[in-house]
Symmetry: C2
Subunit: 328 residues, 2 copies
């Protein structure tokens, strides 16, 4: 007992709490239990093991503009690491300056999503990866031509061979998708203030943020924004101001899917403005008010909006390591 | 003497040579003396001291797409650090997919140039910085609007105040140019194999590259591609295949300046293809042949072309440190 008492201060309060030896509490444990901290990695699919070689190749491809028809648009153009891995404009601008229909989702923590795109039309990052390359309003590239361009570079021949050993022609669309997906699974943001709070560092977030957490739970935001990535992976109908987007209906042609969109993550939401499927909303306060009204039928008062906004700010995690690659 | 003899191997051959104690030579000292190693920094103008605060701000602004009218084009779009700080396409693609008239010059070592742009229309990087922001085929942005956007971000207010202290309204076009120029003056590539060779490491480049250095000097390439940055900063008339660009004539309206372009740097030329003012030439071999014919009136044989190409490959230096900034 004497030894333990001596050791405790040296370990530090948060380490002790993280180890489960709660010796103090802020009375909110019941709320904390309703949330999940973000793991360092999302689930890795059995058919796309996460190897260093694939990650390195995927990193190159993510920054590679020559797989666009103009030669200047890469994944990183809209998923810009300087801008929360999104673009901070209402709707994506792509090939020849065309404006797409939807707001660019961040790729941060996208490996945790159970479906990809606002309308969930692809089940995973492998399925997602080839979409924007070919979309006429994004990179507008013929996939065969993209692969031909890659084949033209010796360095890509080497890197694909290293990432996909023992394959005769490793530069193909399947492997292109595998490598991009592997890289994106490394773009995670653990250790946000809220994660540290969940892990037991009770001072990691402010009292106002704690009040916001309570309001977030009590008002039912958590019903859809739940789990480690703050999304239920379900599709919910919403028509935000200015949007005529039919959402998941475009995918399923089912009447019941009209105007439904997959619940977006709230991780890093403070650095991934503007909001909503059409990016029509610039501030978190406004977004919280709209969601309260449209999804929960509630008029949040200003204090509640401020509290929830303070809470949402605690969801900004550590930005991932990556390299601006030296392309061939 | 005994002590000295013992110390020499420990110091290493190249250190000894770098210290000026030449104890071996490859017989090419007369050629080496005609070249200059690249300093770590270019001349810093008296009215734009190189401070950490300006460099940091300039780094942010360089990656800032919201000073373009589309909101997605930054300096780094065409001066892409993944692509030798240029774009590796023949002619720049800018606003709404418009294709410009000229090949994007690298910003690497651009602080060493005595004038900016292919036609030398600006004397320095400060003058250069605001051009592409406003050019209708590049970022197509009204400068006042760009400044207004920056004013809208608290972080830019802070960073401009730190970079330009004691100024009442530091977010103005003059300071925008100062910060961008300051950052660009840090984008240098010293310690290329050829620089190490000039510094006395006689094994830093191959025998073929040395033969190429000799051919480069003997054939007169060095007349224009001279000095630390391999350019005389003068304007020379050339019409490469496919080009109708009138070059410096556009600036001066002087008949004698028709088709004249400022000699481009050859530093990092192996990673800044394609070549010529219109980017019509993809390979170094072809570029060397064209320059021999057009500028020197010589038909280089294949061996000479190979040698000069090997030499040019030794001009690729260490790529500069920079950060992908976290933008507001």
């Amino acid at each position: 007992m004497t030894i333990k008492a001596k050791l405790l201060p040296a370990l530090g309060m948060s380490s002790v709490l993280a180890a489960g030896l709660a010796i103090a509490d802020d009375g909110l444990e019941n709320y904390r239990q309703r949330f999940e901290a973000l793991p360092h990695l999302p689930p890795i699919p059995a058919d796309n093991s996460l190897t260093d070689e694939k990650i390195e190749l995927g990193n190159m491809l993510f920054f590679e503009p020559r797989i666009s028809s103009s030669g200047v648009i890469s994944c990183a153009t809209c998923h810009n690491p300087a801008l929360g891995w999104a673009d901070r404009i209402p709707r994506a601008v792509g090939h020849d300056g065309q404006v797409g229909e939807r707001n660019t989702p961040t790729v941060l923590n996208s490996g945790f999503l159970e479906s990809q795109f606002w309308d969930g039309r692809e089940p995973d990052l492998e399925g997602q990866a080839l979409g924007p390359i070919q979309a006429p309003v994004e990179m507008a590239m013929d996939l065969e031509m993209a692969l031909e361009r890659l084949v033209g570079f010796e360095l890509y021949q080497t890197k694909f061979s290293e990432a996909f050993p023992d394959q005769e022609d490793p530069i193909n669309e399947y492997n292109l998708a595998q490598a991009l997906a592997a890289f994106q699974r490394t773009l995670n943001t653990p250790n946000s203030p809220f994660d540290r709070y969940l892990h037991g560092d009770l001072d990691a977030i402010s009292q106002q943020a704690k009040d916001g957490m309570v309001a977030f739970a009590e008002n039912g935001c958590i019903a859809c924004h739940r789990g480690a990535n703050f999304t239920d992976s379900q599709f919910h109908a919403i028509q935000v101001p200015g949007s005529t987007d039919m959402g998941r209906y475009v995918v399923t042609q089912q009447e019941g899917d009209m105007y439904r969109f997959r619940t977006p993550t709230l991780r890093n939401v403070a650095v991934t403005y503007p909001y909503m499927n059409n990016g029509a909303t610039e501030t978190l306060e406004e977004a919280v008010a709209i969601m309260g009204k449209e999804m929960l039928g509630r008029e949040f008062d200003d204090a509640t909006i401020s509290d929830i906004t303070a809470f949402l700010h605690t969801l900004t995690g550590e930005m991932p390591d990556f390299e601006v690659p030296a392309l061939p």
